[in-house]
């Protein structure tokens, strides 16, 4: 069991029909991804790169157009069809907007009790005990139990939604930008909560994020997406130290440091223009329209993922295990 990946995504494509009815938005366009048990995996990229769609497809909130998702070696589509409940005890999802993901009519107690009721967990006394455990786990006081989601602060709401996701003791937690709705100092609290939960419960966590600093802080592995494809992936530390793909380099360079001394002397890579539309990706490498080091072959032939110096993989013609382009 231990050598079976927690999540394995094979040749995944998710296309949405265009509003005009012609063509399709290729939100996810051919992704292979393996998440080992116990990993803390970050998926980063800019809006429209398909990272949220990928996360939603992993948990079955979105149907795949092509390819398969295996959870612990089991086909997710089959599993959901045959036993939705046991699937939800294995994989849980944390939404970006904690307020929207909770019924505005239900108190915190009812919200936390709901998954237990759906899965017919114990008597009401046992459920009450489990809810108390969950509150402890996410460090919320029992006084929040009677309150409605609207009267909680942003950080408390996200804690409740994490507690709800943990109610069924899943082994895999997929989180879609769980921090972006929060204030800076609260964000740090929730980040620390995720790391301690992972240690305490041995969870496998996949987190979609656009805050690279936080990804480096907590994730063991990272996948960088661009226009529905993986542009680079690997262990977080080495990848952040020497990103091989020009896009990762630009993305990392774009994040300003909170230290003005670093900022003053830092060379910034400013990319030109916006990402192309995901319904009409450019031929060749998807990044070639904005890439400062693109060569002729980049405009014609799509690069495959290849091993690069930091030990991971990158989809760039100019990179291989011996060298990487530097922009």
């Amino acid at each position: 069991m231990s050598d079976v990946a927690a999540i394995e995504v094979r040749g995944l494509k998710v296309h949405f029909p265009n509003r005009s009815g012609v063509g399709a938005v290729r939100a996810v366009d051919g992704i292979n991804l393996t998440v080992a048990r116990g990993a803390f995996h970050g998926i980063v990229g800019e809006s429209g790169c398909g990272k949220t769609t990928l996360a939603r497809t992993i948990v079955g909130l979105q149907k795949e157009s092509e390819g398969t998702v295996l959870i612990g070696g089991r086909d997710r589509a089959e599993w959901l069809k045959s036993d939705r409940k046991s699937f939800s005890r294995e994989v849980q999802f944390v939404f970006q907007d904690p307020l929207g993901s909770m019924s505005r009519r239900q108190s915190v107690y009812q919200t936390l009790e709901e998954p237990l009721q759906i899965h017919r967990f114990g008597s009401s006394v046992e459920r009450r005990r489990r809810i108390a455990e969950l509150l402890d786990l996410v460090a919320l006081p029992a006084t929040v139990l009677d309150r409605l989601p609207r009267s909680l602060s942003g950080g408390q709401r996200q804690r409740v939604s994490i507690a709800r996701a943990l109610a069924l003791k899943p082994s895999i937690l997929v989180c879609d930008e769980p921090l972006s709705a929060l204030d800076v100092s609260i964000r740090a609290q929730i980040v620390n909560l995720f790391t301690s939960l992972q240690k305490q419960l041995g969870l496998t966590i996949v987190i979609v994020a656009h805050d690279l600093a936080i990804v480096r802080e907590v994730c063991s592995d990272v996948t960088v997406m661009y226009l529905g494809r993986i542009s680079e992936a690997g262990l977080t530390r080495p990848l952040f130290r020497e990103p091989a793909h020009p896009y990762s380099q630009a993305l990392l360079s774009a994040v300003p440091s909170p230290d003005p001394r670093i900022e003053a002397g830092r060379r910034r890579i400013i990319l030109a223009g916006d990402p192309p539309s995901p319904s009409a990706p450019p031929p060749g490498c998807r990044f070639n329209t904005r890439c400062p080091v693109a060569i002729d072959v980049c405009r014609v032939e799509e690069p495959m993922l290849r091993s690069v110096p930091h030990g991971g993989v990158a989809a760039c013609h100019l990179a291989d295990s011996g060298r990487r382009p530097v922009i």
């Binding site: 948990v59 909130l61 939705r84 409940k85 699937f87 939800s88 005890r89 849980q92 999802f93 939404f95 907007d97 929207g100 993901s101 909770m102 019924s103 505005r104 009519r105 709901e114 998954p115 759906i118 899965h119 939604s161 709800r164 069924l168």
Partner: protein, 303 residues
Amino acid sequence: MNISAIRDIKDWPWLVLLPVIGFVLIGIFAPAIMPYDPSAQDYSATLEGMSWNHWLGTDYLGRDVFSRIVGGARISLVAMVIVLVAALAIGVTIGSFAGYVGGRVELVLISIIDIALALPSLVIALALIGILGTGYWSMITALTLAWWANYARMSRAVVTAELQQPYIEAARVMGAGHLWIFVRHILPHVLALVVVYASADAGALVLAIATLSFLGLGVAPPTPEWGQMLVDGMSYIEEVPRLVVLPGLALTLVVVSFNLLGEAFALQKVPRPVRGATLRRRRKARAREEAERNAVETGTTSA
């Protein structure tokens, strides 16, 4: 009284709701209140004036007018409740089903609902009675079939809106089935809205029942019913106007106060996220004006 100027439930003149409360209480306890059998004829005491024996006098068959008005309240209340419950059940079921299932089924059901809505409910009721024949139960059936579509459309709208909320997805991720999601999350929203509108519709329904009976298509003669009483009183309008004025007054009071109740609910309760709440309130206000006008007209025909 300028109703549209009242914006807060606290400012509501609760006193005007007394007729609603009175109507419901009288309807429930009618058998205990009625001093006489409302259908019992007494040819020795026809068209008597008000007295200690007959508080509101008697009609041309010597039946006690007070008992008949109280009995009429019961008939109207019972009929109204049956029609509302049935129309709500049908409307909420069909509308919610359409909204939840979506796709082609929804399209077909929506078309049916729209057709039903396009025709005035009273016209539908008249046509159905034409097919079913007259009588209490065919009146109930006809009114139910004429009334459900409104609730169906509202239910569908609420279901469609709620289904798009992320917390529905959250429930699905937790492993909830369709029935769970519908009953636990969607139905409360549907009922909250629909029941408010039903309370406003109650007055219109009482009026419709009276109208049908007035036209001889509803409750059959010996049974005390306000519309029926209006017809009976018409022939004696010159000599004993009371026979027309009293049931007319009862009807008007009940209809107007039900509409005010609906308005009070609408001010407080109509959930904001549902689209076009203001629009619907305006439409409702127009409907209320129309109902009031009808009530007055019914009164004038008889007065």
